[in-house]
Amino acid sequence: MKPLTQSVDGQFAELTQEVPVNVSRRRFLLSSAGLAAGALVLGVGIPLRQARAAEQQQLPAGTRVPAFLQITPDNQIYFQSPFVEGGQGIFTAMAQIVGEELDADPASFIVENAPTGADFQVMIAGPGRITGGSMSVRFSYPVMRRLGALARQMLLQAAATEWKVAITELTTEPGKVLHGASNRSLTYGELASKALDLPVPDPDSVSLKDPKDFRWIGKSVERIDVYEKSTGKAQYSIDMKVDGMLHAAVQHAPRLGMTVGDILNLAQVKAMRGVHSVHILEGAGAVAVVAPHWWDAKRAAEAVQVDWQAAKGEEQNNVRHMPADFSSEAFSELLAKRTDKGQDAEAKGDAVKLLDAAAPEALVSATYRTQYVHHAQLEPPSALARFDDNGALELWLPNQAPDMFLADVAKRTGLPANKITINSPILGGFFGRHFLYNTANPYPQAIELARKIGKPVKLIWSREEEFLRDPLRPMAAVRLRAALQDKAPVALEVISSCEGPTEGIYGHNPQKVDETAVEGLAGKSYEIPNVRIAQDYVKNPTMLAYWRSVGNSMNDFVYECFLDEVADKAGVDPYEMRKQLLKDNPRLSHLLDVVVQSAGGWKRGPFTAEDGSKRARGIAMASPFGTEAASIAEVSIENGTVRVHHVWEAIDPGSIVNPAIIEAQVNSAVALGLSQVLMEEVVYKNGKPLARNYDMYPILRPYEMAKVHVSIVESGAKMGGIGEPGLPSVPPAVVNAVSQLLGRRIRSMPLSRESLQG
């Protein structure tokens, strides 16, 4: 490593000079990090290609090969991914899918997140381009395969021209084109500069591989980013740096909606060593300090003594005014005491009539509660904003949907879209954190500061500011009733008093139930003849957000735990009950069998384990994002704390791309599911979150992790998602086990609220 004592300018000069045709993997990552401030990217050639490509004919999204691919003479394949990597392995999956049809080893791919633009709106019947909803692969799979096939076709065409032979005489093997008749070959790298200047063939002219010939799809191909991520070389938004950049830190109003009255110690803060300037950010309800170094900015921002003014006037743009007396505990009580019947999300038969008429011994009813949770991704949010001399704005920021962010930036700044460039570095975790959230993204603040001081500004929210402004997964209180007949539920009513995340973010439509409020409750596969699922809308004072697996993350806990209560009341084993209710559904019956077999058969317990601890197991299922999942958890209670020893999870996404990544994603989803059910809860008192860091908001630690046993089922059904679906069945499996162990029902999360002694 070279010492970095030279000036910032010096570093750039050095790096830029080193940029060769033969760009190393390392350098490319640095370039994607924005370190070279554009120069490196030009060196690689992608913008040039785009410029050239733009002169070509109008092409459907996902077909303009030169916009996506660049192949260097040493056979490195640079790929612009429409989806952002945040741990879910999408860059590797894209390399596999494109590489499969291109006939190039995924290991030769270097992937970064694509710029904005129509070319990258590749999702079929989807929202164009977002990384979320576990949609990336399943909504773009054929498009990305076709892209690989088109690129291969262009390489074949270039070789045919070069050798003056018919294209039909040519074949490929990974990374090269072969002419068998003359025993000649050319690498993709040798052909690329000519191939990528060719017009893109008609998208319908290429045929895709027969899946039985797949070389990489469906295999546990190694992830392409693990080395960089194991050696600190991977660069996230927070690591971005451009020439002449200053740092900024903010102090937000303690409650959203409050405004800055006065800064009581402005002169003192301005005089603090290392401070460049102090700014009031009216719109954000914040004070910012700009400094050459972030730590100095952060300390000064904390030192600012603001006379905060209570929120005035009506709420605008869905910026919610946090009441000074808001208590999450009291709000949960309020939800639990609701009696409103709500609005139907699903209705079949006449559940209410049957339930109202049911004899007490045939009736089960309960109220379940879920909690607010934080995303708590490890990388604190940041944004780097730079205006050039012509007033064009370039941004580096964490995001799950660059074009949506572009539109928002255009709206906020009044700049035309072509004067805005969005760079989207890899994410240090996201879990739903990096969508457009009106009050929870730092970039409007960074833009305002960069404009005010006329220099590039990187704004980082400290962990404390992040936990103050992180929008929350909503909480709910859910009232459930079931009527039994012949030891099976004949009627079920579920009313969730809550606000769904979607209506929380985009506004409530009184005519419509928010699907994300009831997913995991509505549309279940269990054969229950009379069902009513409803939402009773209650607006939250908090800002809301999507959180990994969205509504399913809380609703499957509610539904699947209540199902165990129903089974207990009916005197039927909960596993048998599920089997019975799914007997006409071969896909789910099989999934249940798989998870039970992987756990060595079904035993509910309590039983005594080899180490002498008393344990029990719980089972639960979920159908999130087009995928089916079933989990069994084994738990004990040690010193009043739940210990989850094992989680067996069977998952059926229909068809798969990378089993190793699926196993990793299920592990990850189990970890987040455990964290949620065991300990996570955002508590508000007096309108403020009690926790401003991980000290008061603990997340799952290494020793609290369960052993995870993943079974992948490839049923051949329509492809489902992978990033989120592993989560929702975990909390109910754990709670069902704990309830069995305790001999009493637990009806709220997290379990750390419960007194579990004895």
């Binding site: 010193n639 300990m679 401003r692 000290d695 008061m696």
Partner: protein, 441 residues
């Protein structure tokens, strides 16, 4: 006999009524209010800093000195009052003599007695000049705020205040501080600050059965000998090696009160309030005077026990089978070091820390459960704070790790019982990580 008893009873009642209704004398009774000089107001503000009025009479997000701080007592909660010069709800109608009586004697103009949460036994020692200056400040340096006082939540009959008159007679020694002729000026200034406005004894002197401080000056070895209060052990301020400042130099004491930290310790618990609002604003001369006075208070070897001898140990993974050491490794060592030595003045050592040497384990438990509130030095919040562990560690884990710390590196505070942790968890709340600055203007 019966008659005699009756007479005695009547005499006692009459005496009691007289005593409890008596208006104490004030040297200012005859004085009329004139508009004070700016210098006097400024002196008054300094006396208010010395006396730390703001810590009790201002709450966050509310105007300066408008009261409302809830103070839990065993018989019910009481609230600090509005001491702004508002005529309706504050003390705007107080004459200097009224002000004096309430400040130095605990008697309000309407004759009711103040609960001794107001440290008038200490303020009784204030010089007349300082009282006058303080009055000038509160009348002319503080903005009036209309804020009706919160009534106390102490139920009848405990809410009757006249018995406090007896308390007052019994436990205040009356009269402002009289310099001791055989001591130098610096010592006398230090003694005045510690005993009077600084009211250090309120926390650091043990209390008797009636909650009175057992001593109000250095004539008793109980004075500032360390005490348990509100879930904290306020250590001895005497020359005790283990539980006091015996290992500290004058300069160390100065650093601690000026910067909130020195190489031995960092302020925490209730001392953070005293530092944030009071001691850091004291002049260097006054701080050195305090240091000088405290260093003159002899140790009490009987209370202090065997002097700490550092036994250097590095906590390593090999010790991880011990539950306390395991928790120390994973939760404490990152800041306090595997050697327990902390990080210079920035993060305090646990080896030789008072809280780990005293048999009182309240402070050790409290700070582990609840962390420390932010230290704000010259307007700048601390770079490092102790986080609360109540959400992360069980009672057993906290007992184990504290037992480990209190028996390692030569520490001899001894083991911590699980039920003590449990009780403290129940009785306390975590410290806020917010930067709280109580404004005086």
């Amino acid at each position: 006999m019966k008659k005699l008893t009756l007479v005695v009873v009547i005499v006692i009642i009459v005496g009691a009524v007289w005593l409890s209704n008596r208006t104490p004398d004030s040297p200012f009774a005859a004085q009329s209010a004139a508009v004070p000089s700016a210098a006097l107001i400024q002196q008054g503000e300094y006396v208010a800093r010395l006396s730390d009025c703001v810590a009790c009479h201002t709450i966050p997000e509310q105007p300066a000195f408008s009261g409302g701080l809830k103070m839990a007592t065993p018989i019910g909660a009481i609230y600090s009052t509005n001491i702004t010069p508002d005529k309706q709800t504050g003390i705007g109608n107080y004459s200097l003599a009224d002000f004096d009586r309430v400040l130095r004697h605990g008697v309000a103009p309407d004759g009711h007695r103040l609960y001794p949460a107001m440290p008038y036994p200490s303020y009784a020692k204030l010089h007349d000049d300082d009282v006058k200056a303080l009055y000038a400040y509160f009348m002319h340096g503080v903005a009036p705020v209309a804020q009706v006082n919160h009534s106390s939540e102490i139920p009848w009959p405990l809410n009757m205040r006249w018995p406090l008159a007896f308390w007052s007679v019994l436990f205040t020694d009356g009269g402002s501080y009289q310099p001791q002729a055989d001591k130098d000026e610096k010592w006398n200034r230090g003694a005045y600050l510690v005993q009077g406005p600084g009211h250090c004894g309120s926390c650091h002197t043990p209390r008797g059965l009636a909650m009175q401080e057992k001593a109000l000056d250095e004539s008793s070895e109980q004075f500032l000998a360390g005490a348990l209060l509100d879930g904290w052990y306020a250590p001895s301020l005497r020359n005790d090696i283990n539980i006091g400042v015996g290992r500290w130099s004058d300069e160390d004491i100065y650093q601690f009160l000026k910067n909130g930290r020195n190489k031995h310790a960092v302020v925490y618990g209730s001392m953070t309030d005293a530092y944030n609002n009071s001691t850091q604003f004291m002049s260097d001369d006054d701080l050195y005077a305090i240091a000088h006075y405290l260093k003159s208070l002899p140790s009490n070897p009987q209370l202090d026990g065997k002097a700490w001898q550092h036994q250097p140990t590095t906590v390593s993974t090999e010790m991880a089978t011990q539950p306390g050491a395991h928790t120390y490794m994973t939760r404490c060592a990152a800041c306090h070091g595997s050697d327990g030595m902390g990080r210079e003045q920035w993060i305090p050592p646990l080896a030789g820390a008072t809280s780990m040497l005293t048999h009182h384990d309240a402070s050790a438990i409290n700070i582990t459960l609840n962390g420390s509130s932010r230290i704000v030095s010259q307007g700048v919040p601390d770079a490092y704070r102790m986080p609360p562990f109540r959400q992360q560690l069980s009672d057993q884990e906290i007992a184990d790790v504290l037992s480990f710390i209190r028996t390692t590196w030569g520490n001899h505070g001894g083991d911590v019982a699980v039920d003590e942790v449990q009780a403290m968890r129940h009785d306390t709340d975590p410290a806020s990580s917010d930067v709280i600055i109580l404004q005086m203007r």
